[in-house]
């Protein structure tokens, strides 16, 4: 670094370029040439036309400004959101949408967590489900029709496979339909661990509610119900997206079930074909084993029993 360079602008600029490029080459260009930067999970599929249209809307509305899509391998993060993110999940993500800020929750494992109806209701009016949320309403998405020609151009640009039928079906779909379809595919290439087998999952509990008729537990259960359950089962538990919890049916069959079945379903969640005491569920219920303690869940059951038939 002799003094000469400071009165020779071209030599100075060339030196600066080389100095700038060293870190660039080592941390950015070189990794690009290695297979570890291009992994792909075996069961990862390209987006369908409807899913890609949904992803485009996710981009357009700037969802990435408030929602991340990457679960870090930290204990509480895996508890809250699910399996931590794998490099091979994102091979078709152009660009990546990991985000940098969680004003809202991470969405890396949102696919399949709730039924479609939950998302429609939530996008329409988030405050209807979570009165204190700061998420803006996206009701207008249900009014915009998709343009199949535009989606086709996007599919072509990305070289994703599609069929003519798939495209023509888009004509009757809205931005909202597309965004929900995208929500439901995010993070699904990583196999969900079966709820019952998961750590903390409970199988065949057979004992009565230890907190039954306990007034304190009922009061606590009421509060927990409002925070965790009311958005799907309604404020009075008479059902909305999810079924009524105070009628005489369970898993769409007549005849209620004992407390411990309520506990199991709440604790484990359900997926399609989930069987509880010989009855088959449709799935769609998230499990609460990670966010609620056992006492919490028993309290909710005690609360539900206390309002039953009222």
């Amino acid at each position: 670094m002799g003094s000469g360079i400071y009165n020779k602008p071209i030599a100075f600029a060339l030196t600066a370029t080389v100095v700038i490029l060293i870190g660039t080459v080592v941390t950015m260009f070189y990794p690009m040439l290695t297979p570890e930067m291009h992994p792909k999970l075996e069961n990862l599929k390209p987006f369908t036309a409807l899913q890609l249209a949904g992803r485009d809307i996710y981009q357009r509305e700037g969802c990435v400004n408030c929602h991340t899509q990457t679960v870090r391998p930290l204990k509480t993060e895996v508890l809250r959101y699910g399996e931590y993110s794998k490099a091979g999940e994102f091979a078709y993500d152009r660009p990546f949408l990991w985000g940098s800020k969680r004003t809202g929750p991470d969405l890396a494992r949102i696919g399949g967590k709730y039924p479609d109806a939950w998302h429609y209701k939530h996008f329409e009016k988030p405050q209807g489900m979570f009165p204190q949320t700061n998420m803006p309403a996206y009701a207008f998405l249900a009014k915009n029709k998709l343009d199949p020609a535009e989606v086709e151009a996007h599919m072509k640009a990305l070289d994703f496979p599609y069929t003519i039928e798939e495209l023509s079906a888009l004509g009757s779909k809205t931005d909202m339909d597309a965004l929900v379809a995208y929500m439901q595919v995010i993070g699904t290439a990583v196999k969900k661990t079966a709820p019952v087998a998961a750590a903390g999952g409970v199988k065949e509990v057979h004992f009565p509610n230890p907190l039954a008729d306990n007034p304190q537990a009922i009061a606590k259960g009421k509060d927990l119900y409002a925070k965790n359950c009311a958005s799907c089962h309604g404020d009075n538990a008479k059902g909305d997206i999810g079924p009524s919890l105070v009628d005489d049916e369970f898993f769409y069959e007549k005849g209620d079930m004992p407390d411990d079945d309520y506990f199991e379903v709440t604790n484990n969640g359900t997926s399609e074909g989930y069987v509880e005491d010989g009855r088959t569920g449709k799935g769609g219920m998230p499990g609460f084993k990670d966010s609620l303690s056992k006492d919490d869940i028993w309290s909710i059951v005690a609360y539900l029993r206390s309002i039953k038939g009222k």
Partner: protein, 464 residues
Amino acid sequence: MSDYQYDNQTVKGFIVSSIFWGVVGIVIGLLISIQMWKPETNFAPYFTFGRLRAVHTNGLAFGLGVGAIFGLSYYIIMRLAKRPLLFPKLARFQLYLFNVGILLAAVSLLMGQTQSLEYAELEWPIDLAIVILWVMFAINVFGTIIKRKEEQMYISLWYIIATTIAVAVLYIVNNLSIPAGLTKSYHLFAGVNSANVEWWYGHNAVGFVFTTPILAMFYYFLPKSTGIPIYSHRLSIIAFWSLVFAYLWTGAHHLVYTPLPDWIQTLGIVFTIFLIAPSWGSVVNGYYTVGTDWSKMNTNYLTKFFIMGITFYGLQTVQGPTQGLRIVSQLIHYTDWVPGHVHMGTMGWVTMTTAASIYYVIPKIYHTEIYSEKVANIHFWLVLIGQLIFSITMWITGIQQGALWKATNADGSLKYTFIETLTKNYPYWQLRTVGGLIFTVGMLFFIYNIYMTIRKGSLAEAKA
């Protein structure tokens, strides 16, 4: 040395344009800060947080930041090269294209046309316009420096040259995309690779837009305003080369604990820690410069802007590397701590230093004195208080968020639902809006002062 010779009109044009876009960006910033705690203030589809946030960041980074960088770099280059710009008409055309480009950029973002890459949201047609703008800038930067009439290139020119080169490389590579229509494209890079390219760009956008050109201003205008030469030329040489070397390695500290290969994360963290040294090289150089005569803090109203600015730069460049450490990142990443950090840099360092530079330049090119030092002092204290409220509230709520997300019950289950962790931010977000308001009022004092100075100057010229 007439006005014509130094092409002050173009310099003034860039400064006034940058102030205009700054007002737009700051007002939108206020609105989105309210949207954080009052969702009814989202007006779909064009004025939701999701779309406006990019208008805020781009408006301020490219409108206020790059606009001021163009204007002040030209001012500095002409003085240090002791000659007018080599292509004055090109610079004038660049000014017009700049304003058209920023306007189109803002409209396109409101329309939802975005690449979803932070600080590289703009779609490919506008990217092309920006590349053209930058080439115009580079032609005048290099042309004028090569044809200079002063042999030695002063420190500020090194930083301007490095900025010109680095921004070109960063911007072009990260914006490579597959066009899928006039207003839509997909990143050429996918998944993990897309993330790595974007944050190599994203962090260095901070390095070469919010750091190196601002240091060029600092090294030029601090000695000019105080009349004290820079303390150590040798220190500035070491700081310069180690800064531009180390910056490019550090992008991955934005991707700690993501699926990006660990070795890239670790390298990123290591170089981020190293970056404290060159950053503080400039901080120390600034302190020691004024340290030869601290009375300048009282007697020269601009000195405190520069010293407070470089102080926030110093704090920023210690806080940033700390955040890169895995143990810290896992607590504060994805929380409001990060906007708190960013705004200390942008409101404390970049805006403070740029405003002081403009205070120096405008009276010079209008052959007059500043309209009111008193107004400048009010401006100083208001932006300082506003920025501190902003940053400190965000640090507190950021740590709170991180801690609540991690809190577990005795049986290992999570203690708080997400919505519970969210609502605890509201009081802090409201305070942040108050801080932003105070900052905005401070900036209005600045604009008033500049406006009155220009008016005074024009009148003086008319009389002459």
